[in-house]
Symmetry: C2
Subunit: 290 residues, 2 copies
């Protein structure tokens, strides 16, 4: 019994401290306060964390993996693994599942979300990562392309600088980790409001979430979002949407959408996905969260 308790205690330490999925808008600080990455590290177990980095979205996965290895090792990470998957058959190799076994945190880097999905969607490895993240057994973070893949519907690419219209956004299937959301990243930085609106018009059963650079939406429990970082998180809530012409018009025609509820949130603010309410919570300083 004593031995079993000790074993359980050890496992608890290796588990993330809170259920957390971190959706990062790209360009998170890797040099100064590193608040977002430090928070991921903390949530994954801190110095007891066992991290895996998936650099597969990147065209330079080796360099990208090394970059995050350096950041997390400086925080005290030991035994960090790079899941450097460059071919789809690799994601189906059972050795990755073994390698995932003791992980407490998985981090998906930026790059191209289509590349990430084509390599990993519906592989046993990604199915297991999603399942563990949803069950709160690991902390999962994705930045930029690694954020874009979170929804069931994923923005693969798109444009800016024109009226909302269906040709402004290319949607495809993402990893479905947060299936009710359509995520856009580098949001206000790359002027992506019109493309997220265009995506939402054709999928009004989803909630649009636009995340700025060096900013993170933390999903805690089954319905709470918290914002941390230097920019904003924009929520486009379609619950009360009463009309769109999206099903009637041609792809290049301007879109009509009535009754969207929009919240702009910054560091410290929260949002409840069940009640669709924003909970303001101004914090004056940005610091890593426990």
């Amino acid at each position: 019994m004593i031995q079993l308790e000790s074993q359980a205690s050890k496992l608890d330490i290796l588990r993330p401290t809170k259920t957390t999925i971190m959706v990062i808008g790209g360009a998170e600080d890797k040099v100064h306060g590193k608040e977002i990455l430090q928070t991921f590290f903390n949530r994954a177990g801190g110095v007891n964390a066992r991290l895996a980095v998936i650099p597969s979205a990147s065209r330079e996965p080796g360099a990208q993996g090394d970059r995050y290895r350096k950041v997390f090792e400086e925080m005290g990470a030991v035994g960090l693994k790079i899941f450097d998957i460059r071919e789809r058959y690799q994601g189906e190799d059972p050795r990755w599942l073994e390698s995932l076994e003791d992980c407490t945190g998985v981090f998906m880097t930026g790059g191209d979300q289509l590349r990430l999905c084509s390599l990993l969607a519906e592989t046993p490895l990604m199915d297991e990562i999603r399942s563990r993240a949803i069950d709160g057994k690991i902390a999962l973070a994705g930045t930029s392309a690694g954020a874009a893949v979170m929804g069931h519907q994923m923005i693969a690419s798109g444009g800016s600088g024109s009226s909302p219209n269906k040709s402004l956004v290319d949607l495809t299937t993402g990893l479905g980790i947060l299936p009710d959301l359509i995520v856009d990243q580098h949001f206000h930085n790359r002027n992506r409001m019109a493309r997220l609106l265009s995506a939402i018009a054709t999928h009004p059963d989803k909630i649009g979430i636009g995340i700025d650079e060096d900013t993170c939406a933390l999903f805690e429990g089954d319905s709470q979002i918290r914002v941390m970082g230097k920019g904003t998180v924009t929520i486009i809530d379609t619950t009360e949407m009463s009309y769109t012409n999206a099903t009637k018009v041609d792809v290049a025609d301007p879109l009509s959408i009535s009754n969207l509820r929009v919240h702009i949130m910054c560091h410290g603010d929260g949002y409840d996905l069940h009640s669709h309410t924003m909970k303001p919570g101004l914090s004056e300083t940005i610091m890593p969260l426990d």
Copy 2:
């Protein structure tokens, strides 16, 4: 009596057919269908219109005035006047008021809204134009800079490509023709959502209206907006806004705003400023309005 009736009838013809203030998002078609300019011409009385063009926002007021003269004369305008005001004292010259006397339509061109306001705000001429437009005695249109000046609060300049924050927008006093609105133009074309959100956060008593290029918001009566043109009109309704940090944070800090109601409208859609409701009204073709 017969003579008086005839006189009244003649005056009626010279009056605009409907109370109309047209707020145009810039770059309206001047070559092909010219739907928006044709609608202004129709609303000002058609072939009976007596038009004045104010090119004062432009650095090339002569060329700008000639450009619109050509367009409206091709439609059949006679006796068109260019109010080529280049110095503030000119706006105070009573001869402009005399010249305005028989006008049924006034058109303000694009250029620099600060220039337009510095030349004309609070001059007897502009006071009279505003008063006549509000009373429905003339049709008034403004495009680009001529649209920006419509509100009491005016966006003088601003940026894009960053999280909403107060430094993203410079607000000053406009002409106050539609005092409850903050107008932004070339809206989605120049990615101005973040700056309009930033303006609204500091003036939550206003309604934000963003108008795309070759698109027009027509204000009819005291509360009805109709949309015409090739792009969209975005309404940011603050009626239910429940929180902003705008009064508490520094100018460069990200803004937090909860419970905005947003409508994206295209050609044929309407909006009631009193009831804050959008009235969808899909039209398949764009044509000049009577």
